[in-house]
């Protein structure tokens, strides 16, 4: 435990120091990044220790804030979230030092690193806090720190707008959490809002547990980015610097999942309704997330929508687990929670990797617009290679890690179909996962193909070259982790057991025996994957040997046999995705303006598409316009006369006094 406190102290101290050094750019930059890396590495140690030994570490200190206590605890569930948070943050900090060097001169890098390290510390405390007040406090620290990181380039109007959207969304979500904790505290009747005292608060009156679950689902779901609370994600992620997007998407939104899981452990035995609600939310988020991603032109916006999709997959797992618990299918519960938890780590790894890769592209070429890129693989092979690994992993292809977690979910769903009572749920999960996986593969084919293959589509893409080692190293490490989890899947399952046993409140050996049937097929997958790699390496060697004594010529891609090909002959990102986006046009509602080619020798033709978000257009815009309309209707109250304002106050006070006395 003391190591975690040390890590938080290190993060805070280095952040403060770099804030004070703000004027000296390179000093602040190095110190802040170094603090982030060292602090995060120190923080990983207690998490590993807890996972390895199966103990819990506790730190308790009284606090004179009402209802509050300084109560931290690392159990297996917390440790399981601490691991990706610290790992990704350390790598992102390492990457960020070089990334931030090229920011324009007037920027205060000290302030940036202060908020970055504060964000890491905030996330670590969120998953270890065991008191409602402390939790809400560090939750706000985390949200506000990330807000300042998102608005780092605040001279751009679009960034400021994204920042406000994020701030409004996160505070609306937190409002639900406030109600949640005070409701639980009132029901438990304890003096302090410690989590321990909540257990059983829900079980006395059943609807209290239902209301608490609903509040948590909305509050935590806003942070996790479930549809329809996801609208801030595609705004905030593209606006932030790329390693911030990586941390936010890979680690921060996971705190929403953590919140829901922790709430489930506090509320006692779940009802089937919660499981169905989670399942529905997961399905909608997963399918809509990947569909919206298909229509995007901006690489970071596309990745942001994929975060929505992956949160959906995790929620599918959690929903399966809850259904398994409420209906008495321990195997379903173990596999569902296990798959969901593993996907939390997996998503942190490959989404972090993809955002870092997108950051390199953005950093080197100056644009994230897919239609302006192309052919970057020749100039940055390492970046392209690691991005490809991430893309394959996120599409759920074996032998990488994305496949393993989805495989657990498939196994659970198949088991539930066999058990027959939960067959509809299993059926839904299988169909949903298959659809999501297919669409994700299509989407990443589009993203990888347009960015890295073919010929450069604009002079932006000509500028690209490989970044420095400190930016490449985190990406290489992340892709190695992706491959490692995929290839060592049978051993990874064992690491899941402690956290799953907390969630299902089943003893450790029982969970182990429930999860072990998954090991045999996964072993085959691993062996197959290793064989595949060996085969691929052998074929590559053979190819090289055969070509060794021949002349190798290089020609432009997509030149279609013309003498003078142009880059515009290639497939574009939109044209690649068009068959799919057309199919789902009713949901995507992409705005198109088309100038058709006319005559036998057309001189001009143009197509412009603008992806939109269904929920922004149909839900939030009307809602906020309505609020504004109402506010304008109340304008007569605000006349500008001081006398009237005092009258309002006096009348209110008088009315309250009379109401209270009579």
């Amino acid at each position: 435990m003391s190591l975690l406190l040390l890590a938080v102290a290190l993060l805070g101290f280095s952040g403060l120091c770099s804030l004070l050094l703000g004027g000296k750019r390179s000093g602040a930059n190095t110190l802040g990044a170094a603090g982030g890396v060292v602090g995060s590495l120190v923080g990983i140690l207690p998490a590993i220790q807890v996972l390895r030994t199966g103990t819990t570490a506790t730190f308790y200190h009284p606090w004179n804030v009402p209802y509050g206590s300084f109560f931290l605890q690392i159990d297996a569930l917390s440790a399981f979230f601490l691991l990706p948070i610290f790992l990704l943050s350390a790598l992102a900090a390492l990457y960020g030092r070089q990334y931030m060097e090229s920011t324009p001169g007037g920027k205060n890098l000290g302030a940036f690193w202060f908020f970055f390290n504060l964000l890491i510390a905030g996330m670590a405390l969120v998953v270890t806090a065991r008191n409602g007040i402390l939790f809400l406090m560090v939750w706000e620290v985390m949200s506000l720190a990330s807000f300042f990181l998102v608005t780092f380039e605040n001279e751009k109007e679009s960034v400021r707008r994204a920042g406000w959207t994020y701030l409004a969304a996160t505070h609306l979500g937190t409002a639900f959490l406030f109600v949640l904790f005070f409701l639980l505290g009132r029901e438990s009747g304890a003096v302090l809002l410690d989590f321990d005292s909540f257990s059983g608060a829900g079980s006395r009156v059943s609807h209290v547990a239902d209301v608490a679950f609903f509040l948590g689902l909305v509050g935590f779901g806003t942070k996790a980015g479930f549809v329809p609370f996801h609208v801030w994600l595609p705004e905030a992620h593209p606006a932030a610097p790329s390693h911030v997007s990586a941390v936010m998407s890979g680690a921060m939104i996971k705190t929403g999942i953590y919140g829901i899981l922790r709430l489930l452990t506090l509320l006692g035995t779940p009802t089937p309704g919660w499981g169905w609600a989670l399942l529905a939310m997961g399905l909608v988020s997963g399918i809509l997330g990947v569909l919206f991603a298909l229509a995007q032109h901006d690489i970071k916006r596309l990745l942001a929508y994929h975060s929505v999709e992956n949160m959906g997959i995790i929620t599918l797992g959690v929903g399966l687990g809850v259904l398994g618990m409420s209906s008495g299918h321990p195997a379903l519960a173990a596999l569902g929670f296990g798959g969901g938890l593993l996907h939390v780590v997996n998503h942190a790894l490959f989404k972090g990797l993809l955002f870092l890769g997108a950051g390199v592209v953005l950093h080197e070429t100056g644009t994230g617009e897919l239609e302006h890129l192309g052919g970057l693989m020749k100039k940055m092979p390492w970046t392209a290679g690691t991005f490809l690994v991430g893309a394959a992993a996120i599409s759920g292809l074996p032998p990488l890690n994305g496949f393993v977690s989805e495989f657990l979910l498939y196994l659970g769903a198949l088991g539930s179909i066999e058990a027959q009572t939960m067959a509809p749920a299993g059926f839904l999960v299988i169909v949903g996962l298959a659809l999501i996986g297919g669409l994700a593969a299509a989407c990443f084919t589009k993203a990888f193909g347009t960015v890295f293959l073919g010929e450069p589509r604009s002079e932006h893409a000509l500028r690209g070259h490989e970044p420095g080692r400190s930016m490449l190293l985190p990406m290489v490490l992340l892709s190695l982790f992706c491959a490692l989890i995929g290839l060592c899947a049978p051993f990874v399952i064992g690491a899941l057991c402690p956290a799953v046993s907390i969630l299902t409140s089943m003893p450790f050996p029982r969970v182990e025996s429930l999860l072990s049937p998954a090991k045999a097929p996964l072993l085959w997958v691993s062996v197959g994957g290793i064989l595949f790699l060996v085969l691929a390496a052998g074929l590559a060697g053979l190819c090289r040997r055969l070509l060794a004594r021949r002349r190798v010529e290089q020609a432009g891609t997509w030149d279609c046999g013309y003498v003078k090909p142009t880059a515009r002959m290639q497939y574009t990102a939109s044209s690649f995705a068009q068959p799919l986006t057309r199919m789902f046009d009713g949901i995507l509602r992409t705005r198109e303006s088309l100038d058709r080619p006319e005559g036998l020798f057309p001189v001009y033709a143009a197509l412009k598409t603008e992806p939109r978000d269904l929920f922004n257009d149909l839900v939030y815009r009307p809602l906020f316009l309505g609020v504004e309309w109402l506010a304008l209707r109340l304008r007569w109250l605000q006349e500008g006369h001081v006398q009237l304002y005092v009258l309002y106050i006096a009348l209110t006070l008088l009315a309250l006094l009379i109401w209270n006395l009579s």
Binding site: Q638, E639, G640, V642, Q643, A650, L654, L661
Partner: protein, 214 residues
């Protein structure tokens, strides 16, 4: 002694009514000065313990500030801005008196209903305090001139002072001095502000200062 206290309380109630019924600004200032003097006198008469030097000093300080210095500051501001009368108040003088009567009845009712320990000085103390606070608020709401609003603020503060008197004959010295200093600064600053508003806009009608409402 009790009779004297009751008589003073009635006098204070009358000063309150006089304040909302008068159109002459100078007369209003004199009324508030009188109120301040009487209020400063009250703590010496209320209660049974022997008088201490501290109580006498505080009471004297209150009388000097509320009865002499504030009126003097405000009269100076009044001379500087050359306004004599509150023309066209938002609520007319007759109506103001009627409202005052209603407020007095309300204060009496509150005084009976409020779950407070009965004051040892006089059962009229709590109603008086509430009535003075309400009249101060009413003066702020119903008058246009900035000067009358300052007077309303002062009267409201007097009400709060009277409320404190009901329970504790001696508030802690520091609190007492702090409050006095606060009001002193407030009146001082408001006097200057009134002068500047008048110089800038040629009037001190607060209801016309509504440009900054957004």
């Amino acid at each position: 002694m009790r009779l004297l206290v009751d008589a003073l309380i009635v006098l204070l109630i009358l000063t309150n009514l006089r304040l909302v019924a008068s159109s002459h600004l100078a007369a209003c200032i004199y009324v508030v000065a009188l109120q301040g003097l009487v209020l400063g006198l009250l703590p010496l008469l209320v209660g049974t313990d022997p008088l201490t030097l501290r109580a006498c000093v505080l009471s004297g300080l209150t009388m000097v500030l509320k009865g002499i210095i504030f009126p003097w500051l405000l009269l100076r501001a009044l001379r500087a801005v050359q306004v004599r009368k509150e023309m066209e108040p938002l609520v007319g003088y007759t109506t103001s008196l009627l409202v005052g009567a209603v407020l007095l009845a309300l204060a009496m009712w509150f005084g009976r209903r409020l779950p407070l320990p009965v004051s040892e000085a006089s059962p009229l103390m709590v109603p008086l305090a509430l009535f003075t606070i309400m009249i101060g608020l009413f003066a702020i709401v119903s008058r246009r001139k900035a000067l009358t609003q300052v007077l309303g603020y002062l009267v409201m503060e007097n009400g709060i002072y009277a409320f404190g008197l009901t329970f504790a004959r001696e508030e802690p010295l520091l609190v007492e001095l702090g409050t006095l200093l606060d009001i002193f600064m407030a009146v001082f600053v408001m006097g200057i502000t009134i002068f500047h508003i008048s110089r800038e806009f040629d009037h001190i009608d607060t209801d016309r200062l509504s440009l900054l409402k957004d």
